[in-house]
C-alpha cells in the first residue's frame, strides 16, 4: 500500500492550491475514504452486474436469449430491476418481530461485505493484513448464519421458519469442511495471512495452490457454495418447495439487501478462492511492472484478479444452470459423511507431507529441517499433488464400495418384495 500512498502524496505536493492538511496525511485520508467508497459501493454494483450476468448465462445454458430489450445486450435490465426494487413498498408483516425482522437482511449483507477486508485486490491493495486472515473469514461468516436465522424466525411464517431450520442445518454443517480445508491451507502456507499465502504462491515458491491441493480446493469450493446458498445447495430458499424460505416475507429494499448479501457472498467466495488457490493478483509481469510503476502494476494485478474471480463466478452459475437441487438428507449426508471425513483425511496427509519438506526455522520453538527439505517449493508442490491424488483415489474406492453395498440392499429388498 505504501507505494501508492507515496505516489498520491507526491502528486498532492505538486498541486499548489491544495488547502488542506499536509500531503502525506491528506493522501492517507483520501485513500481511506476511497477504500470505504469501494467497500460500500461494491455491494450494490456487484448485485447489478451479477444479476445481469447470471440471467444471460443461465439463459444461454437453457437455450434462450435472456434480457435483450433494455439497452445493448439488455444490460440496462439490471438497472431497471434495481429501480423497481427501490421504489417498491417496504412491508413488515403484522405478526413479525419488528426489530430482528429489519436487522436480519442487514446482518446478512454486512457479513458478506466484511470478508473483503482480508482479500488483496491487487499488489499493495488490501483492507487489512490480519495475521489471522483466513480464520477471520470463517468468523464473519457466522454473522450471516445469525442474520438468516433472525430473518426466518421473525417473519412469523411457516415457510420462513422451515427455511431457517434448513439454513441452520446446512450452514452449520458446511462450516466444518470449509474450516478444515482452510486449516489445510494454513498448514501448507505456514501462515493464515492472505498476503503470505499469495507470496507463497509465487512460481519460485511452488506455484498456485490449486495445483498442489486440488482436493482441498474442491472441498473448499463446494462447502463455500453451500455457505452462499447457491444451487444445487439452495434448499433453504428452494423457491419450488418452500416458496423462498427465510426471505419469503421480505419486499422492496429489504429483499434487495438479502439479494445483495447473496451476490456479495458469491463474489467473496470467488475472491477467496482466487486468492487462496489461484494466486490472487499473480500473473505474468505484474511484479516487474509494480516495482517500476506501482500504479500500472497494480492495475494489471487487479485485471488478473478480476479475471480469476469472474472465472469462479461463471463456474457457480454453470452449476446452477446444470445441476438439480439436493434433498435435505442427501445434503447433510454429503456434508457430514463425505466432505468432512475427506477434508480431515486430506489435512492429515498434507500435514505429513509438509513436515517432510519443512525447512529449518523457528515458530515459538526451534523446528528442525525435514528430511526432504532440500527439494524446495516445487518438490513440496509435486509431493502434495501426489498425496492429494492418492486421497482422491482412496475416497473414490470407498464411495464405490459403499454405493455397491447400498445398491445391493435395494436389489435384495426388491427381490424380497417380488419373492
Amino acid at each position: 500500500m505504501e507505494p501508492i500512498i507515496t505516489w498520491l502524496a507526491n502528486l498532492l505536493a505538486n498541486v499548489s492550491w491544495w488547502p488542506w492538511p499536509a500531503p502525506p496525511s491528506a493522501a492517507i485520508i483520501i485513500w481511506v475514504v476511497y477504500g470505504l467508497f469501494i467497500a460500500f459501493g461494491i455491494a450494490p454494483l456487484a448485485m447489478i452486474v451479477l444479476t445481469w450476468l447470471e440471467r444471460k448465462i443461465i439463459a444461454r445454458i437453457q437455450d434462450r436469449i435472456g434480457p435483450n430489450m433494455a439497452g445493448p445486450f439488455g444490460w440496462l435490465q439490471a438497472v431497471a430491476d434495481a429501480i423497481k426494487m427501490l421504489t417498491k413498498e417496504d412491508t413488515t408483516p403484522a405478526g413479525a418481530d419488528r426489530i430482528p425482522f429489519n436487522l436480519g437482511p442487514g446482518l446478512i449483507a454486512v457479513s458478506a461485505v466484511l470478508v473483503f477486508a482480508v482479500i488483496p485486490l491487487a499488489p499493495g491493495i488490501i483492507g487489512s493484513d490480519l495475521n489471522i486472515g483466513i480464520f477471520y473469514v470463517v468468523a464473519v461468516g457466522s454473522f450471516g448464519v445469525l442474520g438468516t436465522l433472525m430473518a426466518g424466525w421473525s417473519s412469523n411464517n411457516k415457510y420462513a421458519l422451515l427455511g431457517a431450520f434448513r439454513a441452520v442445518a446446512q450452514l452449520v454443517s458446511y462450516e466444518i469442511p470449509m474450516a478444515i480445508s482452510l486449516i489445510t491451507v494454513a498448514v501448507v502456507a505456514g501462515s493464515m495471512s492472505t498476503l503470505t499465502i499469495i507470496h507463497n504462491q509465487a512460481v519460485a515458491n511452488g506455484g498456485w495452490y490449486i495445483v498442489a491441493m486440488p482436493i482441498t480446493f474442491l472441498v473448499f469450493f463446494l462447502a463455500g457454495m453451500a455457505e452462499t446458498n447457491r444451487s444445487p445447495f439452495d434448499l433453504l430458499e428452494a423457491d419450488s418447495e418452500i416458496v423462498a424460505g427465510f426471505h419469503v416475507e421480505y419486499s422492496g429494499m429489504k429483499y434487495a439487501m438479502v439479494m445483495i448479501g447473496e451476490y456479495v457472498h458469491m463474489l467473496a467466495l470467488a475472491g477467496l478462492s482466487a486468492t487462496i488457490f489461484l494466486g490472487g493478483w499473480r500473473g505474468p509481469f505484474v511484479e516487474q511492472l509494480y516495482n517500476a510503476v506501482p500504479i500500472l502494476g497494480g492495475l494489471l494485478g487487479l485485471v488478473y484478479f478480476l479475471a480469476k474471480v469472474l472465472l469462479f463466478i461463471f463456474v457457480m452459475m454453470w452449476f446452477r444452470g446444470t445441476l438439480p437441487r439436493f434433498r435435505i438428507d442427501q445434503l447433510l449426508d454429503f456434508g457430514w459423511k463425505f466432505l468432512t471425513p475427506l477434508s480431515l483425511f486430506n489435512l492429515l496427509t498434507s500435514a505429513f507431507v509438509v513436515k517432510l519438506f519443512q525447512p529449518a526455522g523457528t515458530a515459538g520453538v526451534a523446528l528442525p529441517a525435514g528430511p526432504l527439505a532440500g527439494f524446495g517449493g516445487l518438490g513440496l508442490t509435486s509431493a502434495l499433488l501426489i498425496s492429494n491424488l492418492l486421497v482422491a483415489f482412496i475416497a473414490s474406492l470407498a464411495v464405490r464400495s459403499l454405493a455397491r453395498r447400498s445398491r445391493g440392499n435395494v436389489l435384495k429388498a426388491v427381490a424380497g418384495v417380488e419373492g
Partner: protein
C-alpha cells in the same frame, strides 16, 4: 481518549446484552441479546491484543452456541412464547444475593494493588499459543479434544429420537 470511547461502546454491548438476557421475557430476544453480548466481548479481546481469541469467540459463541440455543428455542417453541413470568420462586433471594456478591467483588477489585506491568504486549501471540498448546499444555489440549469428542457423541445420543432410533 479514542480507546476509552471504544471501550464504552463495547461495554454497552456486553453489559446491555447481558442485562437483556436476564431481564427479557421472550427467550428469542434473550438469545439475540446473548449474541450481542458475545460480539462485544470479541471487541474487548481485540483491544486486549488477543485477535485470535476474538475470532474464536465469534466462531464458537456467536456462530455455534448462540445458534444452538436459538435452535433449541425453536424446537421447544410451544413453551417458549408464553407471556407468563419467567422467574422462579427464589427470584427475590437472587435479587438480594447477586448485588451483594457484586459489591464484594468490586470491593476486592478496587482494594487489591494489582501488579500491573508496563511491558509492551507480545507480538507473536499466534506462534506462542501454538507452541504452548503443543508444548507445556499438550496433555490438557489432548484431553480437551477427547472431551469435545465425548460431548459430540453424547449430545447426538441424548438428542436422538428413541422411537425412530429403534426401527
Amino acid at each position: 481518549m479514542t480507546e476509552q470511547i471504544v471501550f464504552f461502546i463495547f461495554t454497552i454491548m456486553v453489559l446491555g446484552g447481558g442485562l437483556g438476557v436476564v431481564s427479557t421475557k421472550n427467550l428469542y430476544y434473550a438469545a439475540l441479546f446473548l449474541s450481542l453480548s458475545f460480539s462485544g466481548m470479541a471487541g474487548y479481546f481485540i483491544m486486549l491484543n488477543a485477535g485470535f481469541l476474538a475470532a474464536v469467540q465469534i466462531i464458537v459463541y456467536v456462530g455455534a452456541i448462540a445458534i444452538l440455543i436459538l435452535f433449541a428455542i425453536m424446537l421447544s417453541r410451544k413453551v417458549m412464547t408464553t407471556n407468563e413470568p419467567q422467574t422462579n420462586k427464589q427470584n427475590w433471594l437472587a435479587l438480594i444475593v447477586t448485588p451483594l456478591l457484586y459489591l464484594t467483588l468490586i470491593f476486592l477489585v478496587v482494594k487489591v494493588n494489582w501488579p500491573v506491568s508496563s511491558a509492551a504486549p507480545a507480538l507473536d501471540v499466534l506462534t506462542q499459543m501454538g507452541a504452548q498448546f503443543l508444548g507445556g499444555y499438550l496433555i490438557p489440549f489432548e484431553v480437551m479434544s477427547v472431551l469435545l469428542l465425548v460431548a459430540l457423541v453424547g449430545a447426538i445420543i441424548l438428542a436422538r429420537d428413541v422411537e425412530k432410533g429403534r426401527e
